[in-house]
Symmetry: C2
Subunit: 335 residues, 2 copies
Amino acid sequence: MTVSIRDVATLAGVSVGTVSNVLNRPDAVSAASVERVNSAIETLGYVRNDAARQLRAGVSTTVGFVALDGRNPFFADVVAGAENEATSRGLALLHGNSDEDAARESLYIDLFEQQMVRGLLIAPFGDVTARLKRLRARGIPSVLIDRFSGDGSVSSVSVDSVAGGRLAAEHLLERGRRRIAFVGGGFDIRQVTDRLAGARSAVDNSEHAGTLEVVPTHAMTVDEGVSAGRRLLERERRDRPDAVFAANDLLALGLLQSLVVDGRMLVPHEIAVVGFDDISFAAAAAVPLTSVRQPSALIGGTAMRILLDEALDPDRPTRQTVFSPQLVARASTSG
Amino acid sequence: MTVSIRDVATLAGVSVGTVSNVLNRPDAVSAASVERVNSAIETLGYVRNDAARQLRAGVSTTVGFVALDGRNPFFADVVAGAENEATSRGLALLHGNSDEDAARESLYIDLFEQQMVRGLLIAPFGDVTARLKRLRARGIPSVLIDRFSGDGSVSSVSVDSVAGGRLAAEHLLERGRRRIAFVGGGFDIRQVTDRLAGARSAVDNSEHAGTLEVVPTHAMTVDEGVSAGRRLLERERRDRPDAVFAANDLLALGLLQSLVVDGRMLVPHEIAVVGFDDISFAAAAAVPLTSVRQPSALIGGTAMRILLDEALDPDRPTRQTVFSPQLVARASTSG
DNA sequence: GGCGGAATCTGAATCGTTTCAGATCGGATG
DNA sequence: CATCCGATCTGAAACGATTCAGATTCCGCC
């Protein structure tokens, strides 16, 4: 049915070994043979079978990526960075969206393990350290995205979320805001608690007597941001915060939108808003959004590079790479 | 090194065939054997080797997706829809970003062909019909996303771009706009020319004497939108259009942003703006953006379903599914 | 012409799974 | 007790590429 290396060999009048050599080590083959093999490949329309290759080689040309939320532009940027790096080495990206669901996350890890991916990039939701250790024992390294491994047994590339939270809160305090609300959800996600912790430390250590309350959401989406905004608007005026630090830009944008539409709480006049990630839409928001920037494409590219280094040399010690976040001030906090 | 089905068989005291049956047809195996095999699998930490499976079966558990631009939320939504459908059938998604680069697109198609993917979902940039026909001949079906196949040899799921363009232009004309500018680029991309053609037909067939000019961009990104906005601002006031139809929301948002920051051309007062796709950030824009909505997740899910149907039954005739776009009016055209 | 060594080629063995024709076992039946 | 049948199990063959030890060819040189 399918054209195999054997058919090519027959047509070209050489052995299968020679065809394989033409494909993998052309220098070890005479020019005449290369010529004949290539033309046989051409006429037969031969396509290499990756499964067979992989079975023999014991390793695939694929890297797995498990993201928390593929629809979040932040992750899309990370993926793009990682993919560029992978493609430049001839590797493809297997893509999985856990959608903040531990079962899906687990399913993807299983799938990727069976596929014998070269390595695994993962922005974990649940606690996956044990799973990742097992993978590593089977020769599949992994790199955590945007998250530390507790015991340093897995490499990671992240942004200092605590520092980011601190930056955001300090910025608000400096602008004279005192009643800060942290809007966010998924407190089993480390980044979220870290961002909150950073904000809390900024508030506690400030000379200004600020307060920090938590306005919980069910997820970190635009819709949840909208509903958080509505809840703030329902409050008595005196109970409303004068600033919001949203756990990510999606929440912040949703919140912003609901406030702008309603019109009762002016941004930034009555309420300032800071987001996190600095996705490309933050600048184009109803009120251009102040945000804590993460170098997303750089994170993806760096993670991929580390991963492939470890795949090449399994004994290489793990590394924790931490980028520093950066506050990008825009109109949403300028009042 | 790795644990194989043979090791499991030895430990469980059965043959390899029985282990395989436990894995694939447990009903054909006695309860006692199932029990022993499973516990052997457990103690050895056996993981199925997908490459070997695939080699034998001649087909993988993977579907390829080639997107024009993974950072465009529209495609992210399409991917999410497709992925959901795939995951529910135990398939994984191989992800490729062509970034509107024919070479990259071609590379991904090659890669996916070698991987023997179950099928290919593709939002094509270049002309890939010939390639896709060849894939189909090799048993790999594909479905075009957001694009027709000229000769109906490949299935497709799309939105009627011409109708969408018409909707946008008609909406602007109804609001009293007469000097419409189409902002877009990549005129080798079919959707772009279709959207433009739709707009042109609306202008030509209108009772109002409107004009339509083209403001070309190099790509369809936020940055290109910003620079298009700047170019409009450089013009003499009387040469400026009173409405813009942007080929997608990224362009529209960038444009909007540059106009709002500058302040010389008020939206929607002096210039109305319509986008295309209705990504979730359109509603949260500086001026909430009127846009032509595509049902993105539905497109992805439908395409995946059609693809898997065709993978199951290669002789199934191809289908062209066309969804109707819908105009969502917001503040950017309400003046 | 004979020799040595480099260049080139060969083809069987291997990777781990699935498949399937045939073997085996345990009862039920006459 | 012989026979038969279904349930269950076995193990070799096959999938297609890579590898590598050994065979063959080629060339220059004495």
